[in-house]
C-alpha cells in the first residue's frame, strides 16, 4: 500500500484497487520483501486466522474472482448448479493466480466448499490444503473440547508450513492483534448503523475487505485513519429506507451491486459481508490457554450464521432482534445464486419476518454480475412501496 494515504476517500479508492486485483499484487510484493514468509489462504466463512498469524504466516482471504474473471477451466470441474465462488476460486487456482499460496484452509460450511477442498488437493498437490470441521452440537460441553483439539491439529499443519513451533506468546499476541482489528471494524459498523448516510456500505465493504489481504498491522493503521476521517464527515440523511442486508456471508456481491442498493434508496444499517472475518461479538479473552479461548469464543461469542447451526436460539430470532435494536425498516435478503445454506435459511426468515410484519425483499445475485438494472428496479419499487405507503 502506498504511503501517505490520508483522506477516507483515498483509502476507499486504494482499498478497492487492492480487493479488485486478482493477481494479489500486494501479497506478492509483501512476499518478495519477506522471502522466508509464508502465506495461507482462507476460504470463507470463518477461519481462525489467529492460528495462522501465530505460526508467523500471512493469512489472506480468498473470495473467488468476483466479476473480474472469466471461468474457462473450472466449469468443467463443477456443474452449472454450483455457486459461482466455488468455480471462480478454482479458476483463480487453475490460472496460476494463487501460486503465491503455501496453503489454504476450507471449512465445514457446505458440501460444494468441502468438495472444492478435495479438488484443490488433487489439482495442486504441493499446496497444504486443510479442512476444518466446526462442531454443530454447540449446546454440548463436548463441542469446546472437540474444537480445541481440532485447532491443535490445524496448528500442527501450520507449524509445518511456517517451519517453527507455535508458542503460547505468539498465540496470545495474535489474538490481541485480531481483537484490536475486529474492535475497529465493530466501531465502524456501529458508527455506520447510527449514521449510515456518512458511511455507505459500498465504501465500508472494500475498506474492510482490504483487511483480508493486507498485513494486519498495516490495515489496523489504515482503519484508524479511516475511522477518524469518517467521524469528521458531515451531512444530512436523505429520504431513504433503512435496511439490514442478510445472506452474503460467503460469496460476495459486486461492490457496484452494493452501491446500486444504496442508490436505489436504501441505507444499509448492517450487513453480513465478510462475516467470517468479523466473527466475534466481543473480544476473545486472552487469559488461560489461547487455543481453548479461541474455541470457546467460537461457541459462546460468535455471530449467528447460516453455516453455524446453533440450536440454542433460532437464527430468525437473532435477525428480528437486530431489526429491532437497529430500528430497521426492512430486510434485504441478498443471496448468491445456488448458495445452499443461505437459500435454506430464507423460508424460515420469511416466515418470521412476515409474522413480525417486517417487510423484506428477496434478491438473488451472482458475484460475476455486472449489470444491475433488474435489481435496481426491484429495489426501487420496494423502496417506493415503503416510503409512500
Amino acid at each position: 500500500m502506498r504511503a501517505g494515504v490520508e483522506t477516507a476517500e483515498e483509502i476507499v479508492a486504494r482499498c478497492r484497487e487492492v480487493v479488485e486485483d486478482l493477481s494479489f499484487q500486494t501479497v506478492r510484493e509483501w512476499k518478495a520483501q519477506h522471502p522466508k514468509a509464508r502465506v495461507v489462504g482462507c476460504y470463507p466463512v470463518y477461519s481462525p486466522v489467529e492460528l495462522i498469524h501465530a505460526a508467523g504466516i500471512l493469512p489472506v482471504g480468498i473470495f473467488g474472482g468476483g466479476n473480474q474473471i472469466e471461468i474457462a477451466h473450472a466449469d468443467a470441474r463443477f456443474q452449472s448448479f454450483v455457486c459461482s465462488i466455488v468455480k471462480s476460486t478454482l479458476e483463480l487456482g487453475l490460472t496460476g493466480r494463487l501460486d503465491f499460496l503455501d496453503g489454504i484452509l476450507f471449512h465445514s460450511i457446505c458440501d460444494p466448499a468441502r468438495n472444492l477442498a478435495s479438488v484443490f488437493q488433487r489439482n495442486f498437490p504441493s499446496l497444504h490444503v486443510d479442512y476444518i470441521h466446526f462442531p454443530q452440537n454447540l449446546a454440548s460441553p463436548l463441542a469446546e473440547v472437540y474444537l480445541t483439539q481440532e485447532y491443535r491439529r490445524v496448528l500442527r499443519g501450520l507449524e509445518k508450513i511456517g517451519g517453527q513451533p507455535v508458542t503460547e506468546e505468539a498465540l496470545v499476541q495474535a489474538i490481541s492483534t485480531m481483537n484490536r482489528w475486529r474492535s475497529l471494524v465493530r466501531e465502524l459498523y456501529t458508527l455506520r448503523a447510527l449514521q449510515p448516510h456518512l458511511l455507505p456500505a459500498a465504501e465500508l465493504y472494500p475498506v474492510i475487505r482490504a483487511g483480508t489481504v493486507l498485513p494486519v498491522q498495516e490495515h489496523i493503521r489504515l482503519l484508524e485513519i479511516f475511522l477518524e476521517g469518517v467521524r469528521r464527515r458531515e451531512g444530512k440523511p436523505k429520504d431513504r429506507i433503512r435496511v439490514l442486508v442478510e445472506g452474503s456471508f460467503c460469496e460476495q456481491p459486486p461492490i457496484d451491486l452494493i452501491a446500486c442498493l444504496e442508490e436505489a434508496g436504501c441505507y444499509v444499517l448492517d450487513d453480513d459481508f465478510l462475516l467470517g472475518w468479523r466473527w466475534f461479538l466481543e473480544d476473545v479473552p486472552i487469559d488461560g490457554d489461547p487455543v481453548q479461548a479461541l474455541a470457546r469464543a467460537y461457541i459462546h461469542r460468535s455471530v449467528y450464521s447460516p453455516t453455524k447451526h446453533d440450536l440454542r436460539r433460532r437464527k430468525s430470532d437473532h435477525l428480528l432482534e437486530k431489526v429491532r435494536t437497529l430500528g430497521a425498516d426492512a430486510v434485504v435478503v441478498l443471496i448468491p445464486k445456488f448458495c445452499e445454506p443461505a437459500l435454506f435459511d430464507y423460508p424460515l426468515y420469511r416466515r418470521a419476518l412476515e409474522e413480525a410484519r417486517v417487510p423484506h425483499l428477496f434478491v438473488e445475485y451472482e458475484e460475476k454480475m455486472w449489470i444491475f438494472d433488474r435489481v435496481r428496479t426491484e429495489v426501487e419499487t420496494f423502496v417506493e412501496s415503503l416510503l409512500f405507503d
Binding site: 466449469d75 454450483v82 460450511i109 457446505c110 460444494p112 498437490p125 463436548l142 483439539q149 447451526h309 428477496f362
Partner: protein, 442 residues
C-alpha cells in the same frame, strides 16, 4: 447395435420379499401415526445409528426414504411445489422440499401416513443440508432435536482420530440420556448389544453379497437391484426380520452365481455407477442401460448408509465405539471426494469393470459438486471410459429421456468399438500409479 430386449430385469424373491417387508414397515408407521405406537425418531440415512433407536424401542423414520418413495411413485412434484411456495428455492435439495411439503400435507403420503417425531435425531454425517433440514423440522414440529455432530474425515490416510471417536461416543452417551428422558426408561445395554449383534450379522451378509457381484456374469445389478436392498438395510437393520431378509437375499444371490444367472440375459458391459439414481424415472433409466447389456457391478450410492464391503462390522462388545466408527468412517458421506475416487477405483479394478457412469444430480451437491473433476481423474489419469449424466434424484423436472438416451447410446457405441479394437481398460488402470488420498497428482 446389439441391444437387448427392453425391460428385461431381474425380479426374484428378494424383490417380492422387500416389497412385503417395506409395506409392513410403512404400515407400522401409519399405525403409529393413526392409533399411536412407539415414539418415532426421525433420522438421516448417512451412517445412521439405527441400533440405538431400536434398542430404545423407538420407530426409526427416515424422511429421505419417504421422499424417495414419493419420487419412485411419481408423486413428488406436488410436495416439492408446496415447499417452493413457502420460499424454498428451486435450487435447493428436492428431498428436503418433498419432505417439507409432506409435513405441511399433514404427513400424509399416498403410501403411508407418518407419525410426528418424538425425537429429531440429526445425525450430521457428511451432508451439510441435513443440518438445515432437521433444523426446519424441529422448528415446524417443536419436537426435541439432538444434533449428533460427526467430524468429517479430514485426514484420508489416518481416518478418524482417537479424539474424534471419543467425541462421538461422548455425544452418543448424551443422546442416550435424551432418549431415556423421552421414552421414560433407562437403556437396556443387553438389548443394545443384541441389536448391534443383529446389525453385525446383517452387515456381513450385505458385504458378502457385494463381493458376489465380482462374479461373471454379475448375479445382481449392484446399482438398480442394490437399491432394493437398501430399504431393509436402514429401516430394518438390527431386527430379526431384517437379518432374515438378508439371509434370504444372500442365499438367492449365491444360487444365481452357481447357475450363472445375471439380471439381464447377456452381460456385455460391466459398469460402476456413481451417484444416486433418478428415482422418478428409475425404470426408464435402468432400461437405457439394460438395452446395451450393461450391468452395474458396484455403486457408490449403495454405501451412503454404510460401507460394509471393505471390512467393517459392528461389534456387540463395543456397541458405542462401533456405532461411532460406522458414523465416522464406514460410510460414503463422511468421506472426502478423494476417498471416493479411491473407492471407485477399487471397484473398477477389483470388480473388473469396463467403465464408470456418473449420474450427477442437481439436488445433492454432496455427491455432485466436483464430479467434473472426478471425470477428469478417471478419464485422463486412469484412462477409464467415463460417462457423466445429469438429472435429479427427486425432482421430475430435470429428467430428459431423449437426451439421456442419446448420451448413453453414444457412450456404449464407442465403448463397443473400443472393445472390438481390443483396448482393455485394465491396462490403462495399471499404468497409472496415482493414488488420490496420498495427495499425489498430475
Amino acid at each position: 447395435m446389439a441391444q437387448q430386449a427392453m425391460g428385461s430385469r431381474y425380479q426374484g424373491r428378494i424383490h417380492l420379499l422387500q416389497k412385503e417387508l417395506m409395506g409392513q414397515y410403512f404400515q407400522e408407521l401409519t399405525q403409529a401415526a393413526e392409533n399411536g405406537g412407539p415414539p418415532a425418531a426421525y433420522m438421516l440415512i448417512s451412517g445412521n445409528p439405527v441400533e440405538l433407536v431400536r434398542a430404545f424401542g423407538m420407530l426409526p423414520v427416515y424422511p429421505e426414504v419417504n421422499a424417495l418413495q414419493l419420487a419412485v411413485k411419481k408423486e413428488s412434484l406436488p410436495y416439492i411445489l408446496l415447499a417452493e411456495q413457502m420460499g424454498y428455492s428451486v435450487d435447493n435439495c428436492a428431498y428436503v422440499k418433498a419432505d417439507i411439503g409432506l409435513f405441511f400435507n399433514g404427513l400424509r403420503a399416498p403410501f403411508a401416513t407418518f407419525p410426528k417425531p418424538t425425537l429429531i435425531l440429526c445425525n450430521y454425517v457428511g451432508c451439510n443440508v441435513y443440518l438445515n433440514w432437521f433444523e426446519h423440522l424441529a422448528e415446524y414440529t417443536g419436537a426435541t432435536i439432538f444434533p449428533l455432530d460427526i467430524p468429517f474425515i479430514r485426514d484420508p490416510a489416518q481416518g478418524p482420530s482417537e479424539e474424534d471417536v471419543a467425541y462421538v461416543v461422548g455425544q452418543l452417551e448424551e443422546l442416550i440420556a435424551v432418549c431415556e428422558r423421552l421414552t421414560g426408561r433407562p437403556l437396556d445395554w443387553e438389548r443394545l448389544k443384541e441389536v448391534v449383534r443383529l446389525s453385525q450379522q446383517t452387515g456381513q451378509l450385505w458385504a458378502e453379497i457385494k463381493h458376489l457381484t465380482k462374479n461373471k456374469p454379475c448375479p445382481l445389478d449392484a446399482y438398480f437391484d442394490a437399491v432394493t436392498l437398501m430399504g431393509p438395510l436402514y429401516c430394518l437393520r438390527g431386527t430379526e426380520e431384517g437379518l432374515a431378509f438378508f439371509e434370504e437375499a444372500y442365499r438367492e444371490v449365491e444360487e444365481r452365481v452357481r447357475h450363472n444367472i445375471g439380471p439381464i440375459p447377456e452381460e456385455r458391459f460391466r459398469i460402476v455407477v456413481e451417484g444416486p439414481p433418478p428415482w422418478p424415472y428409475l425404470r426408464t433409466f435402468r432400461d437405457l442401460f439394460a438395452r446395451w447389456g450393461a450391468v452395474a457391478v458396484a455403486s457408490t450410492y449403495s454405501t451412503v448408509g454404510g460401507m460394509w464391503e471393505f471390512g467393517f462390522a459392528h461389534d456387540p462388545e463395543k456397541p458405542l465405539e462401533s456405532i461411532a466408527m460406522h458414523m465416522l468412517y464406514w460410510n460414503l458421506t463422511n468421506r472426502s471426494l478423494l476417498l471416493r475416487y479411491q473407492q471407485i477405483r477399487r471397484y473398477i479394478e477389483e470388480w473388473e469393470a469396463d467403465a464408470l457412469v456418473i449420474h450427477s444430480v442437481k439436488s445433492c451437491r454432496l455427491f455432485s459438486a466436483g464430479q467434473g473433476d472426478m471425470r477428469e481423474y478417471f478419464t485422463k489419469e486412469l484412462g477409464v471410459p467415463t460417462l457423466l449424466l445429469e438429472s435429479d434424484l427427486e425432482d421430475p423436472r430435470y429428467f430428459s429421456e431423449a437426451q439421456m438416451r442419446n448420451r448413453i447410446d453414444a457412450f456404449f457405441e464407442s465403448l463397443e468399438h473400443r472393445k472390438i479394437r481390443g483396448h482393455p481398460v485394465e491396462a490403462a488402470v495399471q499404468h497409472s500409479n496415482f493414488s488420490p488420498g496420498e495427495g499425489e497428482a498430475r
